[in-house]
Subunit: 229 residues, 2 copies
DNA sequence: CGGTGTGAATCTGTTCACAGCC
DNA sequence: GGCTGTGAACAGATTCACACCG
């Protein structure tokens, strides 16, 4: 029942990275990490790592570092992945199938518990061992199967409508793969995964690099390793 | 030959959003937008929009707004999408196929010009009308077909190796769909698209919402519409 | 020593408010 | 009146530097 200080937004992304690195190290049998070691692997400074970890209940021991397992658990708990989330996938097209096929989500605290599609040709087929259901049965399924979040993987034009249905059915969050901004009633958080925006970010980054042919004396601090999800 | 002031990182993502909205409006026949109109559609304030547009060569007219077409072009040019980029897709599995199938990239300034895979069973098959080639032919293809960027859509374990091959072959940027951090030589920018990190961000957002049951008097400013790609 | 935790200083981005133009 | 462009105030995040612990 700690007051749980709010985590700075940019830190959240980094925590995900740390977590991934920690799991790798845990699998490799390492039992402690230093902030600078962890930072090096993730492309940030040790000071940054320490600050980030400071926003959650810290566990580091001076002279030693952090316990890998302990820290991983602490991060999971901070970002809310200590419990498991149940997700409904809407849209069993290409992206939808790709997501369903990536079976590892379950280990990572996310379970795709249902899949829906509008097209009669797709409904009733199996996708990664899961039966695709018609859109009509979505609201009832959401409520009865205790689904927390909706994943939108339908074409752009259909996304807004799906979002409204999901919210009306009571999901508590939406992961949106459609390249459009969704407007929904209430306070339901939405996270967009936008391939095109990612490509555009990359395009800019590439343009800037080649435009500036390694300026003057020292290299720009932090020039290497700028990364966003 | 303008000195082209550097665009603040967070602004880049917003510019992508604006661009999408502008294209929608252009298609709808609108010819001008106000900063606040554009902002409302994208979930940011008018002042923010104006500041963002200020970093590129501005074109707004007081009392009127911005020319939709003109502004779209200006944004494209600022983020480097005025010219077209040629991309190589590595990995023709689920995500790879999903990307290839999303045919609209070409309209948006990105052309998937080649696809590669390691698995003999996949090589030689067609994916979205494109022949999948073996990894061996990657370096030569990159050079000969003037490919700018590589898209990594292979399993986690293989990603690092692929990244090195791509960089050695001379790509100028990498879009990485594998859930691992890549370390490459030189200054090649990398943008990660990490589904799991996105889910984790959503998990945190949902947890925070339900933890705080609508505190006190006024709602937190900017509580609605927080969004990241 | 090696390494954490943290206040203080700095930097970066956002919001405000208003002068000026249509 | 409506709307842009921008300096000035503000808020937030990162970096620095150092006290303190094992």
């Amino acid at each position: 029942m700690t007051g749980r200080a709010r985590i700075p937004r940019p830190a959240v992304q980094r925590l995900s990275m740390y977590l991934r690195e920690l799991e790798r190290r845990e699998a490799a049998g390492e039992s402690t990490v230093s902030s600078s070691g962890l930072g090096a692997a993730c492309g940030v400074t040790g000071a940054q790592v320490r600050k980030d970890l400071g926003s959650l209940g810290r566990t580091g021991r001076p002279g030693i570092g952090y316990g890998v397992h302990e820290l991983a658990r602490s991060i999971r708990s901070a970002i809310g992945v200590h419990r498991s989330w149940r997700a409904a996938l809407v849209g069993a097209g290409n992206i939808g199938r790709a997501l369903a096929a990536y079976g590892r989500f379950q280990d990572e605290g996310f379970e795709i518990a249902a899949a829906f599609d509008r097209a009669p040709g797709v409904v009733g087929r199996r996708v990664a061992g899961m039966m695709v259901e018609p859109m009509d049965s979505l609201p009832k399924a959401i409520r009865e199967r205790g689904i927390d979040i909706g994943i939108i993987a339908v074409p752009t034009e259909a996304a807004q409508g799906v979002a409204e249905v999901l919210v009306a059915a009571g999901v508590r969050g939406i992961l949106n793969f459609a390249a459009t901004r969704l407007h929904v009633a209430g306070e339901v958080p939405i996270v967009d995964v936008d391939f095109r925006a990612a490509l555009e970010r990359l395009a800019l980054e590439v343009s800037e690099r080649s435009a500036r042919p390694e300026r003057g004396g020292r290299s720009t601090p932090g020039a290497r390793a700028r990364r966003l999800s």
